[in-house]
């Protein structure tokens, strides 16, 4: 059996709780991501999503467990893993264009200045930033534009894995919608593997091939992996018509509403079950995919 492109194996993160003991954020979290897949992770605040993201990016070390990409263990940050941070993380003293060339120069030190700039402009225009706007400093750009620059910087480097940490969390709903579609457009052209944190269920359904659901912390775990059986290309206005849409959505809402709490309770008691938390529960809906009736999703879950 071949390993997935990215495999997260028995990842555990504990922090000192300030009283001499330790607080376990998540324990033995394991899952895999295939090449070219777009995976979203959903869970309540405090379940350690951002910690997982930082570990994947190489910015943090897990207490225990390993992350393997292409069979090689991940240690430290790398250009192979691009990150789009929630707060954009653009360098404020550089123009939008320079922020993108900053990344490309790091990736391709041997490229000529013209080639770097042309490449940067190409990717900026893919996210709808053309003309004079690219010469503005981040402080002169709106939040949506800043995040576009950040996305362009990440995609321009063609990382093997792209990590998006709640990229649209700070944006208003209308801007978010536009940029989500731009993200889909730029992604569909690149076959990029993407791992994204989000709080927004609709956003996750629109973008993802698969949604990972995390239980609440402490002792959080990745409890389920929900496949999004809505064919691409997807449009916000069209996917709501798809028969699977509300079924999937209801399932996600139910999980985040109730079961994330119930499962969290179980996990703390069931310490001896830890090896079995290596679990990706495939919630297949293929048979129901073309059925106009609502698929009986609840029955599929154990």
């Amino acid at each position: 059996m071949s390993k997935p492109f990215l495999s997260i194996e028995r990842l555990t993160q504990t922090y000192p709780d300030g009283k001499g003991g330790t607080m376990t954020v998540f324990e033995n979290a394991s899952f895999g991501i295939e090449k070219g897949e777009f995976v979203c992770i959903l869970g309540h605040s405090g379940c350690g999503k951002s910690t997982i993201m930082n570990i994947l990016a190489g910015l943090a070390e897990p207490t225990s467990g390993v992350v393997k990409m292409d069979g090689l263990e991940v240690s430290g940050p790398s250009l192979d893993r691009g990150v789009v941070f929630q707060n954009y993380s653009l360098l404020p003293w550089l123009s939008a264009l320079k922020n993108v060339t900053f990344g490309i120069k790091a990736r391709h030190p041997d490229w000529s200045r013209d080639k770097v700039e042309a490449h940067a402009r190409d990717f900026l225009s893919k996210v709808g930033l053309d003309g004079d706007v690219v010469n503005r400093k981040p402080s002169q750009l709106s939040g949506g534009m800043r995040q576009r620059v950040s996305i362009a910087r990440a995609f321009a480097n063609h990382p093997k894995l792209l990590l998006l940490d709640e990229p649209f969390g700070a944006l208003d709903a209308l801007t978010r919608g536009t940029i989500q579609e731009e993200l889909l457009k730029i992604w569909s052209g690149t076959e990029q593997t993407v791992f994204m944190i989000t709080h927004d269920i609709d956003e996750a359904i629109l973008l993802a091939d698969r949604i990972l659901l995390m239980t609440n912390g402490p002792y959080a775990r990745v409890a389920e992996s929900v496949e999004i059986t809505i064919p691409r290309p997807r449009k916000r206005t069209e996917i709501v018509e798809h028969p699977n849409y509300y079924a999937i959505r209801n399932h996600l809402v139910q999980f985040l509403g109730h079961r994330s709490k119930e499962l969290a309770g179980q996990q703390t008691d069931a310490d001896d079950l830890r090896p079995e938390t290596v679990r990706i529960d495939h919630t297949q809906q293929d048979s129901a995919g073309h059925n106009p009736d609502t698929p009986p999703l609840r029955a599929v879950n154990h």
Binding site: G58, W93, F102
Partner: protein, 278 residues
């Protein structure tokens, strides 16, 4: 009529009014000296008929300024040099000491800002050395260096090092982790991170420290030159005081102010160049 002017124009008018008003009050406050024929016999016996040194009126100072500034670079011996030459010496000493201080303070500040251990290790020394008046070093400097010129430069060095060192360390330590993470995820080495991310991020704080330092250096050079003598605007002030030429003293005080302002302005321009909005 005033309502049509911009705030800057109105402020300029007010400044001008204050200047003229101040000069008039100054001029009027200088008591006229009695001329010899109006003196009583007693006063003549007491020697009061001779011209007494007094604070000169602004008109005298302006005349002096015109005279000095129209020929600033003459050199008529050790005690009679143009104001331009004197200021030139002072600026040369300030810049030498200051540049040496920057060459030490900025790299060291980087190190202290980057490393908690270095910060804690250096901190006690900085805290003890920083409050020492730079002139207190002068005797030791004169003894060790055996050269008054170099001692003055050393005093400038020691007084300008602290604000630069502390601000550089503070600026470097305060660089947002997000920006450092951007450098890390782009696999930048330590040197490229330092030059392309940390330096521009900390530049406004560093330049602020440099601006404070140049201000202090200019304050200290006057006192240092009064002590070491020979040349420089500080020596000039002291020399004119010994000559009891108060017109020259007031003129040179004004020149010290003008040069200090120009040095500060240069750094404020630099500060604006590296500033960024988040």
């Amino acid at each position: 009529m005033l309502d049509n002017l911009s705030i800057n124009q109105r402020a300029a008018i007010l400044s001008l009014v204050m200047l003229i008003g101040g000069l008039l009050i100054w001029e009027a406050a200088i008591p006229a000296q009695k001329t010899a024929e109006n003196l009583t016999e007693y006063e003549i016996l007491m020697g009061l008929g001779q011209e007494r040194a007094g604070v000169p009126p602004p008109s005298d100072v302006l005349a002096k300024a015109w005279e000095e500034l129209s020929n600033p670079f003459y050199d008529a011996g050790p005690n009679d040099k143009g104001i331009g030459i004197q200021i030139g010496y002072s600026i040369y000493r300030v810049l030498s000491g200051y540049i040496l201080a920057a060459m030490v303070a900025i790299p060291l500040g980087f190190l202290i800002g980057m490393s908690q251990i270095a910060y804690k290790a250096f901190n006690p020394f900085i805290q003890v050395l920083r409050p020492i008046s730079p002139l207190a070093w002068m005797p030791l400097a004169l003894f060790v260096i055996q050269d008054s010129e170099a001692s003055a430069i050393f005093v400038i060095f020691i007084c300008s090092i602290w604000p630069m060192l502390i601000n550089t360390a503070f600026g470097v330590a305060g660089v947002r982790q997000d920006w450092v993470n951007v450098a890390r995820t782009h696999e930048l080495g330590s040197f490229r991170t330092a030059f392309t991310v940390i330096l521009p991020a900390a530049a406004p704080t560093i330049i602020t420290g440099m601006r404070i330092s140049i201000g202090i250096a200019w304050l200290v050079i006057i006192a240092a030159e009064m002590l070491v003598g020979g040349t420089g605007i500080g020596y000039y002030v002291w020399n004119e005081w010994n000559n009891l030429d108060l017109t020259s003293v007031i003129f040179s005080i004004l020149m010290i102010g003008v040069v200090g302002m120009l040095l500060d302005t240069a750094f404020s321009v630099l500060q604006r160049a590296v500033a960024y909005a988040e």
